[in-house]
Symmetry: D2
Subunit: 300 residues, 4 copies
C-alpha cells in the first residue's frame, strides 16, 4: 500500500493539501551520519528551483523537513526515522471547483470509485507533492549507498523527439507556450554495485527496479540493457550486452535502465486551471534516483 | 526469493536437471474446481508443441504434473496446493563440459560469484524449465480469474523488425537456419478487471505487473498505455489514453501492456552446444499470461 | 521491526524524550468515522489518570494527538493515517546520569551492544511512552471491530498473590510505600468474533495474539483456554474447553486469554531515581486491548 | 498461512492422508553440509520410536524423506530445498465414519465452517503428521545454528502434576490404561545466542518465539523468564532475572522458555476410535526444538 521495501522500510503519508506530508524510514542502521544539506539540495532539485516548465507552487513553498525521531546529534539511532513537511501553501480553495468534477487524464474518478470517498483537494495522495517524502527517504538511502561505493546518476535523455540535452529547455518552453505538455525519457546509471545483488527467480534486480520506478506517477515504461530497441538485433550481435544484470543478478558492470514519463494531462490547452508542469520528466529525475536508491538499499 | 505474491502465494522449486521441479500455491480458496486438461494444454503451449524454433527437449519430455496436496476430488481444499514435475529427460552429461566453463550471455558466472557454488547441470534454477511451475500455478490463477469474468490474452506482436504475425514462423526459421537467434515483443490484454484494482502509491497495478513480467528470464522491458513510443506525442494528443490504468488503479477499460524478450545467447553461432530456442519470445507467451494471472490474483 | 500487521499496517515511531512519538496506520478502509473522544479516553486510561501507583509524568503531560493525514471531516480517507504526540514534558536532564551507566533490569545495555549507540534519554524507544502510539492506533482498530460486532474487554485479575479486585489498590499502595513493585495478570475476553478467524497452521489465532501481546514491555507469558493450569487435568475433564479457538481458528464462542506482567525493576528500593509505576500491569490493560485489536483487525 | 519466516522461509504442505506431506525451505545459504542421519533421528524422535503412549501409526510408518531440490552432493545449492514424505500407511477408510460427524475437541467443525469443505481423512492438515515437515526443516535450521555455536535443548518437565522425569512413563501409562490422556509442560533452553538477537518493539525475541511455539497444535501457553509464577514476587526479588531476553533482545545469557500442551481429546474414553497419544507433549519436544530453530534462524 504505502510502504516500500522490507529491509529499509519506507512508509509515506500525507495528502497534497492536508496538514503535512511525510514518511517513516525504518530499518536504517544506527550510527549513520545524515547530511541534511544534501537532503535540502535534493528537495530543491525535485522542486525544480532552477528549471523552467515547473509549477509555481514548488517555487513558492520551500520544503522544510521537520525531524520527529530516529536522529540524535546528526546520527541515526537505529530507530524509525520519522519526518514531515508542512503544507504551508495549501490552497484547497483553488480546487473547490473539482469537488463535483473529475480532471481528465487524472485518477480522480477511479479513486472515488475505489474508495467511495475522495480528497478533491489537489489530488490528495495522487499528487506530485507525495514524491517529496520519497526524495527525503531516498536521499538517506543514497547517502548510505555512496558510503558503500555505489553511485546513482539519473538524467533526462529525451524530451519529445529531441535527444540533444542542449535543446531540452527550448523544447519544453515551446510546449508550455502553447499551453500543452510533452513526455520525456530518463536514463539512470548505477555504478559500484557489488556482484551478486538481486535474486535469481522472482526478486530479480530488474524486477525490483521496475517495481520501484513504475510506482512513480506518469511513468509508462521501464527497460534495461538492450531494452525495446534490441528487438531488431540478432543474438549474435547483442550477446555480450547485459545492462549490468545477468540472470536477475548484478554482474559488476554498470547497470543502465531507462524509463519514460508521459506528459501531464492537466494543461491550459485541456481546459484545466491551476499549477502544472510542461514536462514532468524534468522533476522526475531526482525521484527516479530516490526510488532507485530505496530499491537498492534493500539488498545491502 | 522464490516466492511470488502474498495472497495467492506461489513458491517455486527445482533445478533444471535435478529430480524434479515444482511449486506450492498457498492461499487458494477452498472449493474451486480445477480444470486439469487446461493445465496440460498450457504446458504443451509453453513446451511449444506445435511451433518451430523450440528446443527438442521440450518435445521429447512431456510435462506430467503430480499433485501432492491441496486437491481432493478435483476441487481445492483451501490448503497448500503442492505439485511436481519429474525431470525424466534430465541429461546432466550434456552439460558436463560446463562444469569448468561459463556460457556467454548466461548467468553462470554471477551465480557462482553469488553463491560460491553452482549447479552446472543446464543452468540449475536459471533455466527456461523453471517456468513450467509458473505455468501450472498461473493456470490455476487464470481459472479463478476467468470465473470472475477476467480474461488475459497474450500474443507475439513482433519478431525482430517483423510485425506481421503471418511472417513470424519464416522469420524465426531464417535465424534458426543461420544458427542465430532473434528477439520478440509480447503484448498482453486484460479484460474484465474490476475498477479499483491496484494501489495508488507503491503497489500500483502497473508496478505489480512489471515486477511479475520482469521476473521472466530474457525480458528486457515493460511498457503500458502510451509506453516509450508516446514520448513524442504532446499531452493534448494522448490525454485520453490510459492503458486501462489511472493513478495506479484499473479504470475499467482494457489493460494493455507490452514486454520485450532478447534473443537467447546460447546459439550454435556463438559456439554453444545443446538445446536452444531461436526465439524465446514464442514460448514466453504463456509464461507472460501465467505471471500476469499470478499478479492479478493477488488483488482479488 | 517497528511495523505491526500487514492488512492494517501500523508503524510506530518516536523516542521517549525526542521531539514526538507517533505512528502511521495504513490499510484502514475509507469512510470510517473516527470517535476522537474515545481515543482521548483511552489515552487517559493508559496514562492512569484515575489510578494510584502510576508515574507522575503521565499525569502532568496530557497526550494531545495531532492528526497529520488520512482523516478529513472526521472520516478516514483510505490513505495512511499519520499522527503524533509531542513530548512536551521531555526532561532529558533527569536522565543525564544514565549517559554512562545502565539501569538494572532494563534493556539499556543490550541496546548499546546491539546498536553501538544508545538514546540514554529515558530509555529511548524502550519506554512505556511508546505504547501511547499503540493505544491510538489500537483504538481506531477497536472502533472498527465494534462496528462489526466484536468487543474486546481486558481487566486486571491478579496483583501479586491477590485475586480480589477490591483489594488491588491497597496491595499496590503497599508495594509503592516500600519503594518496591509487583507483577500482575491481565485477562482479556473477546466476544463476537466470527467463526473461522485465524489460520490453521502457522498464523493460528492464538499465535497472532501471543505475538501481539508479548510485544508489550514487561509481558512474560501468554496463555489461553486451559492454559498452564490445565496441565493437571486429564483429557476427559477438559475436552470441551476450547478457549474460543479450535485448531488455530475461532469457533464462535468467547475467546479468553491471560498474560502476565513482571514488576518494574526501576524502583527506589533498587536505587533507581525518576518516575516509575509500582504495578505496570495496571496501565498495561488498555495496551493489551489495543494490541488485541491490532491483531484481530488483520483478519477482517 | 502455511509459510513461516521471511529469511529462512519455510512452506509446509500436505494432508495427513493425502499423497504426501512435505515442505519447501527457501533462503538457506549455499554450501551448507546437511547431516541426513540427524534428520532421520529427529523424525524417529518425533515418531516416538522408543517411547510409550504414542499412536501406532507412527511406529508402523517410517518417515522417509525424498529430496526434490536444493541439495547436490550433500550440500545446499542456495536454491529452495523441497522435500516430501509419502503417506504410505494412509488409511482413509479408518476415518470414513468421520465424513458426516465431527470429533469432539478437534477442529473438524470450524474447518468446515471456514472452508465450506473439509478433508475428513484424519484431520487433513490439522494432524500431528503435519509436524513431520516442520521437524525436517527445523533440523536443517538447527544444524546451521549449531554451526554458529547456538544450541537448543527442549525437554518434558511436567506431566499432569508430576514433575519427576523418572515417573513420567508410569504416569502416562496410567492414563493410557484408562483410555484417557494428560497434558504436559515442555521447557526449552537456548544457549550461545549472540547478544542483540531480536528487535526492540514488535518483533521482540519472545514474541517471535511465542508465535512459533503457539503454532504447534495443542499448545495452550508460552512463558519465559519469571513467567506466570513470577507474579507473586516483588520487583526487588526478581530484578535480575531476565530469562535471557531484555527489552526484546537477547542479553547473552541462557534463554529459557516453557510451553504447555493440553491432553488430546481423541481418546477411547471420549468414544473416539483410531490412533491417539496419551500425552502429546512427549512428541511435542522435538517439534518445540524445530520451531525454535526456525524462529531463531530468521535472525542470523
Amino acid at each position: 500500500m504505502n510502504t516500500f521495501g522490507d529491509k529499509w522500510s519506507f512508509t509515506s503519508f500525507g495528502e497534497s493539501h492536508g496538514a503535512a506530508i511525510g514518511g517513516v524510514l525504518d530499518g536504517v542502521p544506527a550510527g549513520i551520519a545524515i547530511n541534511f544539506d544534501l537532503i535540502r539540495q535534493e528537495l530543491d532539485r525535485r522542486a525544480g528551483k532552477d528549471q523552467k516548465g515547473v509549477s509555481q507552487r514548488a517555487l513558492r513553498e520551500p520544503d522544510e523537513v521537520e525531524w520527529l525521531s530516529g536522529v540524535l546529534d546528526g546520527r541515526t539511532l537505529g530507530t524509525p526515522i520519522a519526518f514531515l513537511i508542512r503544507n504551508k501553501d495549501a490552497r484547497p480553495d483553488d480546487y473547490a471547483y473539482l469537488k463535483h468534477t473529475y480532471r481528465i487524464g487524472h485518477a480522480d474518478k477511479v479513486y472515488e470509485q475505489k474508495y467511495g470517498i475522495r480528497d478533491w483537494r489537489g489530488g490528495g495522495r495522487a499528487s506530485a507533492r507525495e514524491t517529496t517524502a520519497r526524495v527525503v527517504a531516498g536521499c538517506i538511502a543514497k547517502q548510505e549507498l555512496v558510503a558503500k561505493g555505489i553511485s546513482i546518476q539519473a538524467q533526462l535523455v529525451q524530451v519529445g523527439a529531441e535527444t540533444d540535452p542542449a535543446k531540452f529547455t527550448d523544447t519544453i518552453a515551446a510546449y508550455q507556450h502553447e499551453g500543452d505538455s510533452i513526455g520525456g525519457i530518463v536514463e539512470c546509471r548505477i555504478n559500484g554495485l557489488p556482484v551478486g545483488t538481486g535474486e535469481p527467480i522472482f526478486d530479480k534486480l530488474q524486477a525490483e527496479l521496475a517495481f520501484a520506478i513504475l510506482s512513480i506517477n506518469a511513468c509508462k515504461g521501464f527497460e534495461y540493457g538492450t531494452g525495446f530497441g534490441g528487438v531488431t538485433q540478432p543474438g549474435s550481435a547483442i550477446n555480450a550486452v547485459s545492462g549490468g544484470i545477468s540472470g536477475g543478478i548484478s554482474d559488476g558492470t554498470e547497470v543502465v535502465f531507462r524509463c519514460v514519463f508521459k506528459p501531464t494531462p492537466s494543461t491550459p490547452k485541456a481546459g484545466v486551471k491551476g499549477r502544472h508542469d510542461a514536462c514532468v520528466a524534468v522533476r522526475a529525475v531526482p525521484v527516479v534516483e530516490a526510488m532507485t536508491a530505496l530499491a537498492l538499499v534493500q539488498f545491502l
